[in-house]
Each structure stands twice: as C-alpha cells, then as structure tokens.
Amino acid sequence: MSVQRHELHLLTGSYALNALTDDERADFEKHLERCPSCTEEIRGLRETAARLAMATAVTPPPEMRARVLAAAPRTRQLPPPGRNLLARAGDRARLRRLPLSRASITAGIVTLAAAVAFLLVTQISTNRQLHQAQASSSAIAAVLAAPDARIESVPATVGGTVTAVMSVREHEAVVTTANVPSLPETKVYQLWIMTAAGAAESAGLLTVTSSGSTGPFLASGVLPGDRLGITVEPAGGTAQPTTTPVVIMPVTA
C-alpha cells in the first residue's frame, strides 16, 4: 500500500463510521497500532457516531422484548477476556492502546489451547495422521455435525483456497486450506477472529504442509458478525495482525 501516513490519518472518520472497505480497514488497523493520536481521535468520533445512533431510536416491535429476554438465559455468555495465549507482556501493553474492545481469546480457551498444543505436537506426524487425528477431535466433529453448519470457500490472495465450516450455534469454525503457498521457516500463517467491534483475536497458527494444505483447525468463540482472517506473520505469531489478511471471510448466521 502506497498510501501516505497523513492520508491514512484522514481515514479516522470513515473508520469510526464503519465505512472502510475490508482491505482498507485491515491496513488502517495496522496503522493504528503506531498512531496514538488516531486512536484518541477515533475514540471521540465513535462516541459521536453513538450520538447519531441514539437519535434514531424508534419503538421496537413489542414482541421483540419478550423474545430477547427469553433467549438470554438460554444463551451462554462469553467468559471475561482471558490471557491471550500468544501475547507477551509487551504486546499486551500495546493492545491497550488500541481504541477497540480488548483483544483476547474468546470462548473455549481450553479447547483452543488444546487445539494449538495438539497442532504443534502433531506437526511431526504425517499429514494423513494429522488429518485423521484432528478430525476425530470431538469439538471439530461437533462443528461439522451442527445443524446450522455452513461451508464457505474463499480464494486467498496469495493463491490457494481457504475453506471454513462455521456453526454460529456452536460458536466455532473449522478452517482448512488447500494449495496455499508454503512459507519460509521465519513466517507463519496466523488465523484471526475479527470481532464486529473491530478487535482481532488470534485463533492460532496454521501449519501448512508442503502440499499447501492444513488439517482442520478449530477456531472457538466465533460470533455472527465476526470475520475470520489469515495473515502472514513472523514465526511464533503475533498478538495483533501486522500484515494485510490474505483472506477474510465473514461469519454469518
């Protein structure tokens, strides 16, 4: 991207109004990490947008109230933001300066930790074993079997295809890739859950085999309105995306 810095700063308004395209938003969020004055400005502009929103208030359909209040107790709530498994202390300090809700691991920290650990351990096994072992993981099976499971396939900008099976009911997505280029040892593909509020939460690192595929990878705590994104990051991963995603897919109910 050859956009000048001062031009990027002009995007604060459009960002606060959620009027950037997906690509630009990703670039701009990268810029935000290094631009405390943008962050500060966005905070005030988002509050301003909230006033615009509050002024649109109309009486909602009365049946809506009973429906939402009845659904709440049947809806599991997200736990408080836990420690990001990949974040180091310095990264966490950096995250705090972001204007958006705190990045963190979402629901299913345990599942995710297990999935990451499992993935690292099984790197040494053959792709076939990896695939079979992971497919048998009950969490992944639950997503694949969920009645509301949707499958979405999107080409990656670097080549190859990313496929996700998403279940809004399970709040999980299973991600696989095919034919994506393998990376040098110093780089890694990292999967992100990008929330509706604009925060990015790492869902873990994808291990791509020499044939360009990854075994099914579980992303937990996925909500409708979120987007799944994959970026290329330094080996070991980062706390926040530092490059433009090679793929973005919306999570819809």
Partner: protein
Amino acid sequence: MNTSTTRPEQPGPDRAEGGGRDPAELLPLVARGDQAAFETVYDQFAGPVYGLVRKVLRDPAQSEEVAQEVLLEVWRTASRFDPARGSAAAWVMTIAHHRAVDRVRSENAGLAREQKLTLGPVTGDDVAELVETALDRQRVRRCIGALTALQAEAVKLAYYGGYTYPQVAELLKVPLGTVKTRIRDGLIRLRDCMEVTW
C-alpha cells in the same frame, strides 16, 4: 461509583433513557448473568438499536431480526465491554452498526434498498414512532444542520446508509479524497457541536 464525576454535565448517550441507571455499571452485572440488569440495558438500548438497524436496512422484518441478534450479542459479550475504552452506548451501537452493515454488504444490499435510496436520500426523518429522546434528537439535528451540505450528506450516507466511503463518493459524484476529508471534518464538527468529551 458514579461516573458523572469523570464526565460532568453530560446528558451523554449513556443516560439517554430508561431506568436512569448507567449502563456502564449494568453491563458488568449482565456479564455475570444478571437478567434484571439485562432487562434495564434492553430497555435503554432496544429503541436506538432497532432504530439504527432499521435506518440502515430499511426492511422492518429484517431489522427486527438483526436488532434481536444485536441485543442478544450484548448479553453474550457483556464481559468484553471495557468502560475505559468508551461509553456503553458506543459499544452497543458499534455492534449494532457492524451487524446491520454486515447484513447489507454480505447480501449485496438488495435492489429494493438501493432503489429507495435513489428515490429519496436518507433524511433522518423517515421513521415512524420516534422515541421520546427529544433533547438528544434535537441536538443531533441542530448539529447536523450546522454542517456543510456535503459534510452532512457524506456522514449520513456513510453511517445511516451503511455505505463505504468509496460508495459515498460515487453516490455524491465527488472524488474519494474529498469524501474521506468531509466525513472526517464533518464528524469532528459534530463532536465539538455535541460536546462529546471522550
């Protein structure tokens, strides 16, 4: 703790309606599963959430569906609200706007909606049953009235219309850079006019 000590004299979005309890204090209770607190939060935000979503989506049935999802997401994700980062209203309305816009952009807007916009641009006056937030509404209208025509159109199309700024540029037949700038300086003027203190 009463947050009015940190945000003095502000009618602010967080105390607009319903129950008079600061939603920034209620959301942590909601995060613990407190349904009474959620009811209050619902009553404070259902009107604006439904209003905003309807403004963007137009279709009442679809709007109701999305508004419900938004309010349930407030319940689900209440633990993620961080008062240090902004007001409860900004948090809730950000979720609402993103949901509405995601619906529009993922379903390619639907032709009907685009036609409606061509026939009559978003005016801010086209919804029935306005809720009694006269003060806030008047103030917003007055401040929008103080913008240049281009600033006002650009901000309204982007926010109430749910368009990306390149789409706004196309609709208004002005260069991209101009729209970018007008949206930003328009919003800054609104911020100052409404005395937003964040």
